[in-house]
Symmetry: C2
């Protein structure tokens, strides 16, 4: 750790009491700016809160709040008996500049050998205790999973000698009956025009994103995502060696004009879209932008990774067909899965693309985990053919719609003064933005005291300070009683938070 404070905080920081942004947030913004621009380098010691408050002629609490916020965001760290320092492991700063070489570092194991440390990947944080009520960021309710049906069909297959073959080494493309069943299922429900050669079975959508990234993004190739975007997708792209360029997201989805501008200035390899319900904000990509994006892909020769993670859950009207249904030239890699319909732990997904891309993805998949669980794949094939999957999906859709309606109604009635949100047309979560008078870290800390666990390891989608200030609150996994409890707890939490905010 370097020690002397040489940076001229006093003259560099300019706070403006006349603009509508809290002083402590203005202070945060400017310190983050200095860190991003390299004026404050990792391990630089920051002035004490007393010193800085005197220099800037502000209340010491303002500096403390700013430091707390910056610590929570990972920009700075406090070391006992030493002081406060710019973090050695900085959070993702400007995603545009991120690529492998800058975020992998070698660390030394206890055996003395080096291995790669991935600062862009995070471990899931330790789950809270059993007494906690958990609100995820959009998981299905596993209590509704048709597991008895699955276990029964699965077991029936094990009793038939013919199906013992399914236990041997199998096709790296996946169980052929499932691939065939998916061809009909996806052509019927999504308007695709695929054949079995276009289908690779994966372990859920995540493996699809991983495979696509590894295929498309080596050596600092550029992928465009929305700002903000599904965090796990971003880290998967970075892991593959890609560079992320962000474009804005508004109520019509990802901004395709900004994509076009980027295409004219540099080579774009891929665009990642969650077209049906943008993750995290839940907006649907407009018809006009869909056609624009497809045309851009054809013109500028990039791939569209269409992650259709919750196509089956649309409540207000019929779902909009995916981009893949209008893909005349083979530009779309369409990714989906059954984890949201059936159960998160039974990881079966699909990766749909032109045959040449499928062949390469299958080769790669072979050395990752060889193949899928063929018996489970056969079981899911049977459930699609029998109509079980569709019946179950319709059943839970009704339940989730009721839950959405209740959750949103109560959120508006009881907490409308703290949170800003729109009722999502589908999916399993509401994109909830917090009034900028408050910050999520305080809310979350208070929530834990009330045994309410949002379990958001990436709880903020504005870590590049884009001002979204939102989190996803999953309603689908909560029954009505639990929804009522969550809202009651949130009322108590926000009351405490707002009192502490106004008390000097």
């Amino acid at each position: 750790m370097s020690s002397p404070v040489s940076f001229p905080f006093k003259t560099s920081i300019i706070l403006n009491r006349s603009i509508n942004r809290h002083l402590y947030l203005q202070l945060c913004d400017q310190i983050v700016g200095f860190i991003k621009s390299g004026k404050l380098s990792p391990s630089t010691k920051l002035p004490g809160s007393r010193k800085l408050s005197e220099d800037l002629a502000i209340h010491r609490k303002t500096v403390v709040s700013a430091y707390d916020e910056l610590i929570a965001q990972g920009w700075i760290e406090s070391i006992a008996a030493k002081g406060t320092f710019v973090s050695q492991d900085l959070p993702i700063i400007t995603p545009k500049q991120l690529h492998k070489s800058s975020i992998f570092k070698d660390v030394i194991n206890i055996g003395g050998f080096k291995f790669k440390h991935r600062s862009h990947l995070k471990r899931k944080r330790i789950a809270s205790g059993k007494d906690f009520l958990k609100v995820g960021d959009g998981a299905p309710d596993h209590r509704l999973a048709p597991i008895e049906d699955i276990a029964r069909i699965y077991r029936n297959y094990t009793k038939k000698t013919h199906y013992k073959e399914l236990l041997a080494y199998g096709d790296i493309y996946g169980n052929i009956e499932l691939r065939q069943a998916l061809v009909s299922y996806l052509n019927q429900t999504r308007g695709l025009k695929i054949s079995v050669d276009n289908v690779l079975i994966t372990r859920g959508s995540q493996m699809g994103i991983y495979l696509a990234s590894q295929l498309l993004l080596n050596n600092q190739k550029t992928i465009i995502t929305g700002n903000t975007n599904y965090m796990t997708a971003d880290t998967t792209f970075i892991e593959a060696g890609g560079i992320i360029e962000q474009v804005s997201v508004d109520k019509y989805g990802i901004n395709t004009n900004e994509i076009e501008t980027l295409c004219t200035s540099k080579q774009i390899s891929a665009v990642y879209v969650t077209s049906h319900h943008h993750h995290p904000t839940t907006v649907t990509l407009s018809a006009e932008r869909r056609m624009h994006l497809l045309n851009l892909a054809y013109t500028y020769k990039f791939a569209i990774i269409e992650d259709d993670y919750d196509y089956d859950f649309h409540y207000s009207n019929a779902p909009i067909l995916p981009l893949a249904s209008n893909d005349n030239y083979g530009n779309v890699i369409y990714i989906g899965g059954f984890t949201k319909i059936i159960a998160p732990a039974l990881r079966i997904g699909y990766f749909i693309a032109s045959k040449d891309v499928i062949d390469e993805a299958a080769k790669l998949r072979r050395i990752i985990d060889r193949q899928g669980d063929t018996l489970l794949e056969q079981t899911v094939a049977r459930m699609i053919i029998n109509g079980d999957v569709q019946r179950h999906s319709n059943k839970v859709k009704k339940i989730y719609k009721t839950r959405r309606d209740l959750f949103c109604k109560l959120l508006q009635e009881k907490l409308g003064s703290y949170f800003i949100f729109k009722i999502p047309k589908g999916g399993m979560a509401v994109w909830v933005r917090l009034d900028t008078r408050y910050n999520w870290d305080t809310v979350m800390a208070e929530a834990l005291k009330h045994q309410l666990d949002f379990n958001q390891e990436w709880k903020r989608y504005d870590n590049d300070n884009s001002g979204h200030n939102g989190i996803r609150m999953g309603f689908a996994a909560l029954n009505e009683e639990e929804i009522i409890t969550v809202i009651k707890k949130l009322e108590l939490i926000m009351k405490t938070v707002s009192i502490s905010k106004t008390t000097p």
Copy 2:
């Protein structure tokens, strides 16, 4: 394709009739040498067989045999009505020089976008028809899989409300009960001294090899393997960006003196060993070399990836404890799984290492496929705790021993004049070398005519011309009747092959 033949074959090739190596193989060796050294570059046209046989004063058949062999090995290719050319896609030449940049090339998809083509990864070839008798390279007999037990235990869990939790998003490290069960199981059966923090559940050993490679081998780091080695491991290392250095393998296993020499000249990041039964040759790493290797790892600070794929199958005496049981400093990453004991399609394996390595591997695994099938993992945990796994393993071990004995006895009696092999002390395959008067491609082509399918997509383990001339013949998946049939068919095949060889 370039056309004029400018390379001076006549003066460059020197054949020696007095040494104990077939002329056509001497010719092969030298042409491969020219290709490897760059004297013959891809797409160079080779002289016609008539021309070359005249230039070298040898029988034209010798040139034809040499060309056939080189085509089979992938060094050259024949193009109808044009002639024979050095291949554009050369096989793995000198593994030492292999790394990502040289083997990935971008190809253009029908949609116009570029994606990575991996020439080092192969697709599984199309399986032969149902009437074919299949001899793998060491798979277990899936017909013996305890699938009824699995399905029963699995279904019982699905009936208990408490276990419904297993269907939700779970721990990226794997099911905790399985991790705990593995701690006792591995400490008892392998002499390890691990705790739950050292255990990551994977999808079979292959995912373990993949994770270790991604952690250790970025940016052209060097890994040492045996020559020859398990092909899928080699391709996984190359995929991760590693460079492979090979050392020889003899009857004591991988040569650790050669490893030491390499360590003194360059930075080694990892050594890959299949210590229990070297893949493919089945030899066991000697006690002396084990200690030597562990000491080298400590001294030169490299990781040992110990792939213990068939520890449970040792027939002649007690299995030798893995290197991991003597790893005092945390240098060993120990990889194994249940696919060989239970069933290839139920992919559950383990990755054992120091906690810091486990944490990084888990983070990476999270973006590959999120997590394992928790319900299946719980089922396997129960089977370990109940002793079902050990009972089943003992049961099949007896069966496989009987099969090994029968297979080796008949192979010696009926085919001893064609094949050279040693009775393997364990495992599921015999390393069968072919008398150099014959070549495997001819044998395999004839085998297919006899509806015998060795299904070896990488059927040769001497593709860098190390002269092994061997393949693995799996006996474990064949019952006694099938073994007798295989041997009978092989007798017919070798008779045909040897007649065609001696007839002018």
